[in-house]
């Protein structure tokens, strides 16, 4: 096993997934790629940006960077030997599977539930969609 891809949106479930992936990377001495799918922003936040000279792209990038920095810190603390970060945009499950394909990940680690709890209940969670279409084995962390 050379490369593990873990998806994080900063939620507690995603943090547990990062921990598990970091342990795997440490034991297997392989590279850990942390992916966040950016772009989750509420209508209220958007309206606040519309009222002043805020830059949405910058806000999205900053939010994504914050999630990644936090996840990286966790992974390094656990002992992952090599950590790389990446950001994708768009529909979460699709973006995660695309990244796994592009990065040739040997295993994909996701949390059971992310931030979109209500939409997850209605439409099925991101982890369910990822599992259904993933190009590699998937570990879902409860």
């Amino acid at each position: 096993m050379k490369r593990i891809l873990v998806a994080s949106d900063g939620s507690p479930d995603a943090e547990r997934a990062v921990d598990a992936a970091a342990r795997l990377a440490k034991d297997g001495r392989c590279e850990l790629v942390i992916l966040t799918v950016g772009g989750s922003i509420t209508g209220a936040e958007l309206r606040a940006l519309a009222g002043k000279s805020g830059d949405l792209s910058k806000t999205l990038e900053t939010a994504a960077r914050t999630v990644l920095a936090k996840a990286r810190k966790r992974a390094l603390r656990i002992g992952a030997p090599s950590v790389r970060e990446m950001t994708a945009w768009g529909e979460a499950a699709e973006a995660i599977n695309d990244a796994a394909r592009r990065e040739k990940a040997d295993i994909l680690v996701v949390g059971r539930r992310g931030r979109g709890r209500l939409s997850g209940l209605l439409l099925g969670s991101v982890s369910q969609k990822v599992t259904a279409l993933a190009p590699c084995p998937v570990m879902v962390v409860p």
Partner: protein
């Protein structure tokens, strides 16, 4: 030559001032022609108002004849309608010609001015190489944004002028037809003079207030959405303009910009859903409110059927004029966004020009 300024940070006032400095060239250099055209356009608006008033009176006379079952009077009204309708149609067509002629000439003058600045000393090349934040995609700005920024002010200012004089004129109609009404509540009688005028002011205030409440973010959202669309186009153009580095950064940026466009679009959708509640409600309620306000006087015989229809029609006309701001929300937002984009391009070209003057050898 380095262009270091981030033009995305320039303030609103400065952008409008820069836009106007170039845009007003047309109005300053062709004074006689411009004054003639303005007088012509104002004359058309006034004649349109006159025809609108005559149609309103025709409406009253037609329904009065109908109420009396007076076939002769109805026949006269039918014959009167033809010239009135013909005048209205001819004036509408003339207005389109006048407005679009002014827009075409203004657009031409501003486009030529910006093109000249852009092509001079190959500035377009330097602008691409030293891409200044806020001046991306100059081709689109020259082609589309100049058109929008010169189209909208003419339409909007004529519509604004028309709304004001229409409101004033039809206030007179509502005042004279409606007269006063006596309302008795809790044993107290009160006479309201020109009650239809107060009715239309209160109703329009409620509609405009609701629209501002429901859609006060709309202009900001449209501006941001247009800006993000322009940034998305620029991110896509970057692949074509700088083919040697089709790297991950560009792909990442393209996807980020697409995501921003979609997020703004989602917010725009919700803003439109909210404002549609008010605008569609108003479409249904405005004529009915007009009728209901007049019904008490009609039932007591103080108003004929013709006057009732005339007043209800006048009510809708005034109410529509009052809603000028609300109706043109989106247009104003589009215009502001385009003015910003043209102005940032002009500021970037000014910077190029200043840099050329500082070190002419490097040009």
């Amino acid at each position: 030559m380095r262009l270091l300024h981030n033009l995305a940070l320039v303030g609103d006032h400065q952008l409008f001032a820069r836009f106007w400095r170039s845009a007003s060239l047309f109005w300053r250099t062709r004074k006689a022609w411009v004054v003639g055209l303005i007088v012509f356009l104002i004359a058309v608006v006034l004649m349109q108002l006159l025809v609108q008033v005559l149609l309103n009176i025709w409406n009253r006379d037609f329904f009065d004849a109908l109420e009396r079952k007076d076939a002769h009077a109805l026949w006269i009204q039918a014959k009167l309608f033809l010239p009135l309708a013909a005048s209205s149609i001819v004036l509408a067509a003339t207005s389109v010609w006048g407005r679009m002629t002014a827009q075409r000439n203004w657009r031409e003058a501003l486009t030529r001015h910006v093109l000249e600045k852009w092509l001079e000393n190959d500035r377009f090349r330097r602008l691409n190489h030293h891409m200044v934040k806020g001046s991306e995609n100059p081709e689109y700005r020259i082609v589309v944004d100049i058109r929008v920024s010169t189209d909208a002010p003419i339409d909007l200012s004529l519509a604004f002028f028309s709304s004001i004089i229409t409101s004033i004129t039809f206030f007179g109609v509502l005042w004279s037809i409606g007269g006063s009404i006596t309302v008795t509540a809790l044993g107290v009688s009160m006479t309201i003079p020109g009650y239809l005028v107060f009715g239309v002011i209160i109703y329009s205030g409620l509609v405009s207030g609701s629209m501002l409440l429901f859609g006060h973010h709309l202009t900001g959202v449209i501006e941001r959405m247009n800006q993000s669309e322009a940034e998305f186009r620029a991110a896509a153009d970057a692949f074509q303009n700088d083919a040697k580095s089709n790297d991950g950064d560009k792909r990442h940026n393209l996807q980020l910009k697409l995501h921003s466009v979609l997020l703004w679009w989602r917010e725009f959708l919700w803003q439109l859903v909210r404002t549609t509640f008010v605008s569609h409600g108003n479409t249904l309620f405005a004529p009915v409110v007009g009728w209901f306000l007049c019904v008490p006087k009609y039932l007591t015989g103080a108003m004929t059927l013709g006057e009732l229809t005339q007043a209800a029609a006048a009510f809708v006309v005034v109410q529509a004029s009052f809603n000028w701001v609300v109706d043109n929300y989106q247009r104003v937002a589009d215009w502001r966004a385009s003015v910003h984009r043209v102005a940032t391009l002009l500021l970037a070209l000014d910077e190029c020009e200043a840099a050329e003057q500082r070190s002419p050898a490097k040009v």
